[in-house]
Symmetry: C2
Amino acid sequence: MTIAETIRGLAARAKEAARNVAALDTGRKNRLLESMAEALLREQDAIRRENEKDLAAGRAKGLSSAMLDRLALSDKVMNSMVTGLREVAALPDPVGEIADLIKRPSGIVVGRMRIPLGVIGMIYESRPNVTVDAAALCLKSGNAILLRGGSEAIYSNLALARVLQDCLRAEGVDPAAIQVIPTTEREAVTEMLQLEELIDLIIPRGGEGLIRFVAENSRIPVLKHYKGVCHVFVDAGADFEMATRIVMNGKVQRPGVCNALETLLVHHEAAPAFLPQVGAALAAAGVEIRGCPETRSILPQAKEAAPTDWGKEFLDLILAVKVVPDLDAAMDHIVRYGSQHTESIVTNDYAHAQRFLREVDASAVMVNASTRFNDGGQFGLGAEIGISTTKLHAYGPMGLKELTTQKFIVYGEGQIRA
Amino acid sequence: MTIAETIRGLAARAKEAARNVAALDTGRKNRLLESMAEALLREQDAIRRENEKDLAAGRAKGLSSAMLDRLALSDKVMNSMVTGLREVAALPDPVGEIADLIKRPSGIVVGRMRIPLGVIGMIYESRPNVTVDAAALCLKSGNAILLRGGSEAIYSNLALARVLQDCLRAEGVDPAAIQVIPTTEREAVTEMLQLEELIDLIIPRGGEGLIRFVAENSRIPVLKHYKGVCHVFVDAGADFEMATRIVMNGKVQRPGVCNALETLLVHHEAAPAFLPQVGAALAAAGVEIRGCPETRSILPQAKEAAPTDWGKEFLDLILAVKVVPDLDAAMDHIVRYGSQHTESIVTNDYAHAQRFLREVDASAVMVNASTRFNDGGQFGLGAEIGISTTKLHAYGPMGLKELTTQKFIVYGEGQIRA
């Protein structure tokens, strides 16, 4: 069998299984998730042995210790997968919900029923726990999932999928509802992306290179974000202590994630008093400042920002800082350099807060809050399968609801159209 | 300037204008729509002169009288455009609506604000009234629109766009919010479909060939339906009079549209009594029946259905008829041959009605109602810009709300993430 035939076969089985999982009731899905949590605990030694093969191969290939860390199914990671399964079981089931029922002049009653999307294709890099997290969200939302993880995690991913599939089989559910692609060739991804009649949605998670490759080669709709270039704008008259707290949290708490702060914009009236205050806090935390000329006139220790530093996702203890004349200039900067991920204003001006919320185009727009809050858990969606910075279908964190759609339903009594 | 440069220039101006129209308040948008209605009436002679050029060219090219009819801006069509503009003005404005506000344990208040998508690219065939209808819906939903109509309507489309743009200009709104692509080369479409950073959504309207071309060549998300192969399943124990009424309405009232009925499925227990009744009504209306062997044993006048008649969009007074053993067989047939457009069951069995509504995957699923109801106006969405049979973003008729998305908004008081 060629790779193309293998992938098509897996996707065709996933489509068959999708009809099966779409029809499962909530109790049965929750029991399945609980049995999966138990099975992971019960079979952790076997899973660890497969994970060890990946780790050994990774060490032989000379992977960095950070990469090996992400690959390892430590006790902590195993426990987080088990907890994750139970948390997804506890979330409300979106499938079958009927909304917006209305009686029309013709006499028909029209509403919308929430339904699964069908088959989700997930393409991701090394962390094997994504296999379980994504499978749980797809199962609960009534979707089948076809998983294509990184080649360095192949043994771990296959072992995890086997445990989950055994649980499906034991409950009489089609095990093809959760499948890991067993081949590591890149061609498998390219083939997967052509199967528009079998796969309904592609979700890539990983570096910008992977995501661009997927977006450029996919015939299937893709929900993605390339990067998070998040800004905080500190307005004139803002509470500088609050602003410092929000800047520090955005930049320092976890600099390597997509909702971390990358550029600070400061109203020029606020700059003389605020920049020394935030500058001292940033320096104490070891953050390198790359400033515009006006910033550097106030903070001489700041480096000169290169033109490429605006709009850059540092993912590191580096912050670009720019002084702007007013709110409009701040919003213009965000339009030009932002990534439609997360933008925040620190202000005490009611009209400015309202304008910023209304006019800034990003998946999450905030007033007086840290950009780090852009997260499914923090927003109350429960676990998230990714964050979308595309506007179609979902914009922002994607939870269970975003893995579904709505169809129209009509209750009639024999009505015909006049 | 090459065609590619022309198209890119128009799209870039549309993107600029999108920021402008996104910020318009409801009153201003409604006044604009009203002024457009007045301007169309005032300038109808000038518009008709341009339309006459298209008609003359069409006659010279030997277009069919049906095609010329669709092209003509008759009094009736002019009035329907004017009425359409006023109806869109009367619809509620979805932009800026804030929903699902919730206070999270961290203290932040999270909600979703409805926002425009940005720039809509519309690719459509001959009817020039689509130019005005689509522009009105995009303006009201805060989007800019780039219109690419059929080459045979180019003078009409440009004349209509000029009138609409004059109204925008008079109100101080960027006229690039409504633009008709002034070149008729096919290359213009191909170029348009590459501009993923400038155009947010493509909506094609026309024949299956056009839609497939767009879907296969677009780097931009496409909301589309290829065809409507709608089924009615008449269950055992159904009210045969009601079933006949629904079948006749679906097949005969307007056979050339996508929500017309194409295949009738009949429960084998219902067949002996129902088929003669519906067969007589169909024959009286001049409908050709193409039946399965069991159908033909009851209705000897029926032709033999070819295998390709199942799943065929006849768009004509032709109906495929099949007798099936039970509800499951009917749903299996629909899975195999349906187009996820509109499916209806005629039944008096409560459990069957519920199963059909839940399990059938189509943009609209109905009980005891004509498939002809799948329409934005009938469903209460107001005017529609198209019907989507793709599940991402919108499934079914697309009104104003489907031309928008939601971003997350956060009201904080200085909260940071722990």
